[in-house]
Amino acid sequence: MAILNVTYRGLSADLPSEVEEFLSDDDIRALAVEVVRSGGLPGLHAADIGEGTFRHFVVDRFTAAGGGQRIYLRPKVPFGR
């Protein structure tokens, strides 16, 4: 299991419940849409967000300093050309 952190509309928050760490990136994006729509992300309820809201976000997975699994859904930041 892993702690999922989502950054959106100026807020970065952990989901109250852990998620399966082997969910695909697309599953993570879809899950984030659902929890933001439902108000499941502490401090943020945005019922109006679209299915593709997080399509340009990346899923960062790593082991936290304390040993637990962390998943961060954050915007991509590449530039080019």
């Binding site: 100026g10 530039f79 080019g80 050309r81």
Partner: protein, 115 residues
């Protein structure tokens, strides 16, 4: 030549910078995102160079800009600097600031003006 990225504060100061090893791309970077998030209260402009000379935002640039604005909950200004000019998403941002020349130097674009 290489691409570079500057984060600019509301007072015009360069808050953070990084660079690529490529003349055509700045790959995704967790460190860049963490700097943007840490500095978000002061951050007003995200600027990067196009050593290729393309004075326009690429498809990658545009989707990154959309993602950043969604994450921060407010629109930033975005700037592209080339050897010959500068383009900004902000209407008042076409006058070159002091750091544009610094970006050209960091990118190795000085002396590469096209005829």
């Amino acid at each position: 030549m290489i691409e570079v990225c500057f984060l600019i504060g509301d007072d015009g100061a360069v808050l953070w910078a990084d660079r690529s090893t490529s003349a055509s791309e700045l790959p995704d970077s967790r460190a860049r995102w963490e700097a943007i998030w840490r500095l978000r209260d002061r951050l007003t402009v995200v600027a990067h160079t196009h050593p290729s000379g393309a004075l326009e935002f690429s498809a990658v640039d545009r989707t990154t800009m959309a993602a950043l604005d969604a994450a921060l909950g407010r629109p930033l200004a975005y700037v592209v600097v080339t050897a010959e000019g500068m383009r900004s998403t902000h209407p008042a941002g076409e006058t070159e600031p002091w750091w544009a020349a610094l970006m050209r130097a960091a990118s190795g674009m000085e002396g590469h003006w096209r005829s």
